[in-house]
Amino acid sequence: MISVGKSVNSQQSIVNIKKYFPLLPVYGIYLLLFLIGIIYPEMWSVVTLLAFYCALGQAFNIFLGMTGYVDFGYVAFLGLGAYGMALGIDVSHQTGLNIGIIFIGIILGLLMATLLSLVVGAVALRLRGAYFAIATIGVNEGFRYLIEGAKLWGGSEGLIYFRQLNEAMGREKTNVIVTFWADVFVLVIAAISAFITLYYMRSKIGYALTALREDEDAAKVMGINVTKYKILAFITSASMAGMLGATSWGLKYTHVFPADVFEIHYTVEGIVIILLGGAGTLLGPAAGGLLYGLSKYWLGAMFPGIQLLIFAPIILIIIVAFPEGIVGTMKKKIKGTVLERYIA
């Protein structure tokens, strides 16, 4: 009896490892990006651009892709994350914590974004479709104008804290951190988001999210507590965004301006990336982030000033011709082949 139980168990753990095979291509992409940046230092700035877009897509996808709810105010979570880093550094730079203050910043950014997502989630997630989209725009804009109007956290002048970083860690360390480690963190956040995505997909959570994305009322009747799962996805996605904002903006630029970090354009970029790669898939945001980042970089270099003029029709063609994105389309093609095990 006991040995039978054991064999079942070990078999299950093998199955469990197999469940995580689809992470291989995603982590492959991130590792490759990192290596390219290390080997060719002149490529580092491109790598950081791509890393940011991959991370943005990967984090946003946990909510937008998996639930189908369009959060136009998503950038607010990145913005708050950036403020979290700014405030964290500001309050702790004289404590002698040295590079520890960066982790205080990241955690504060994470907490602030999570807190906002709890509040927004509790109220706005009761709305559906267009109403939700509009409400989230309202939250984002409202936040920005509250900061500017009430002169909160430096108001429209923002916060600048390069000096505080220098004081806490010295010039040398500060330089390495803002030009190198901030970007490495971004890749790490992308990787964490990817892991969470797959974990959700393979558990009950993923089934619940698919069901509510397709038909919320039917999902309820099937016994799914849709509110719980929506809020879970929302908070997860927002906390990743908080960390992303803290590192890729707050830490990297050493300043925060409300007009920059609440710019709705970033939300739209995130949506484009997810749609391009395949909403609700694991590999999609990475593929979409690469493709979007590269074409943006390339169009900007080739057609300075008119890159958006070229880009707009491209988005439209993609929406009409490939509404399921690269990975969505690919997944259909490889159904029943060995590759299926590696793509999710």
Partner: protein, 295 residues
């Protein structure tokens, strides 16, 4: 003194509100019929302001001429975008249609920038002014007010009195029912999108009667956001509700600006915008179907 300033501002607010309302009717018409939110809405308002600008500056004609012209331009563009893009997305998830309308807006902005450049533009169209006890009103603003109201009445009559208007209302009420009754729903989609865009571009012209400076390819974003607030205020999907929502919005915006200016140590302009978004959220929470309940 404050009372005088307040009534002056409220008069301005009323006029601006009528324009805002008129400028939101297209958004609501499209949403009411197709359940698609036009995220590129503001770009079409911007397009209208440039039609007005071009007519006045390059052709030397009165911007009144630009009103029908802008409607025709908008209607044609609306049909074009519907035929090639929006019409193919009527059954797609929200995500696709939202992004598509955003990209369409972006296209309009970039084409405008390509033609006119990205610097701020403006023109002065002066046909005199009227002095009221508490404020002075340029006659162009009065034109804007009257024309906005005429457009609302025209839309109302079209929706109530004509066959196509009635068919459109039927689609808003119950799409499947309308289909069963032999209404060509897809044609109604195309019609509502084209008319919606036509109205929106036209509203841009009327906006220049109120403020004819500060025109820029990227000026639309702020109007998109305002239109969302107004649309929700009046009830998403109700074109006439949008008008009254606009009037209320204009009054609130002007009134709160006047009051917030009295508080020291803050930025009244930004805080006014905060107030409007705060109102939006409260309405969405309390009565997402709109405050006014106009059908």
């Amino acid at each position: 003194m404050l009372l005088q300033q307040l009534s002056g501002n409220l008069t301005q607010g009323l006029i601006l509100g009528a324009i805002y309302g008129m400028a939101t009717m297209g958004l609501n018409l499209i949403f009411g019929v197709m359940k698609i939110v036009n995220v590129g809405h503001g770009a079409f308002i911007m397009l209208g302001t440039f039609v007005s600008f071009a007519i006045f500056t390059y052709l030397g004609l009165t911007p009144i001429v630009a009103i029908p012209l802008a409607f025709i331009v908008g209607f044609a563009l609306g049909s074009l975008f519907f035929y090639f893009i929006i019409g193919k997305l009527t059954n797609a998830p929200e995500l696709n249609s939202l992004l598509a309308t955003f990209a369409i807006g972006m296209l309009i902005e970039e084409v405008t920038k390509f033609i006119f450049g990205s610097e701020w533009r403006g023109f002065t169209w002066d046909v005199g002014r009227v002095t009221l006890p508490f404020t002075v009103l340029p006659i162009t603003k009065i034109y804007a007010f009257i024309i906005s109201i005429l457009v609302v009445i025209a839309l109302y009559l079209w929706l109530r009195m004509t066959r196509s208007g009635t068919a459109l209302r039927a689609v808003v009420e119950d799409k499947e029912g309308a289909r069963v009754c032999g209404i060509n729903v897809d044609r109604m989609y195309a019609l509502s999108f084209s008319i919606g865009i036509g109205l929106t571009v036209m509203s841009g012209v009327i906006l220049t009667f109120f403020i004819s400076v500060g025109l820029n390819p990227y000026m639309g974003g702020a109007y998109t956001l305002r239109a969302f607030v107004i649309a929700v205020l009046g009830g998403l999907g109700s074109p006439l509700g949008a008008f009254f929502g606009g009037v209320i919005f204009g009054l609130v915006e002007n009134g709160s600006y006047t009051l917030l200016s009295l508080i020291p140590g803050i930025e009244p302009f930004s805080l006014t915008r905060f107030v409007t978004f705060f109102i939006l959220l409260i309405i969405l929470l309390v009565r997402p179907t709109g405050l006014l309940g106009v059908k």
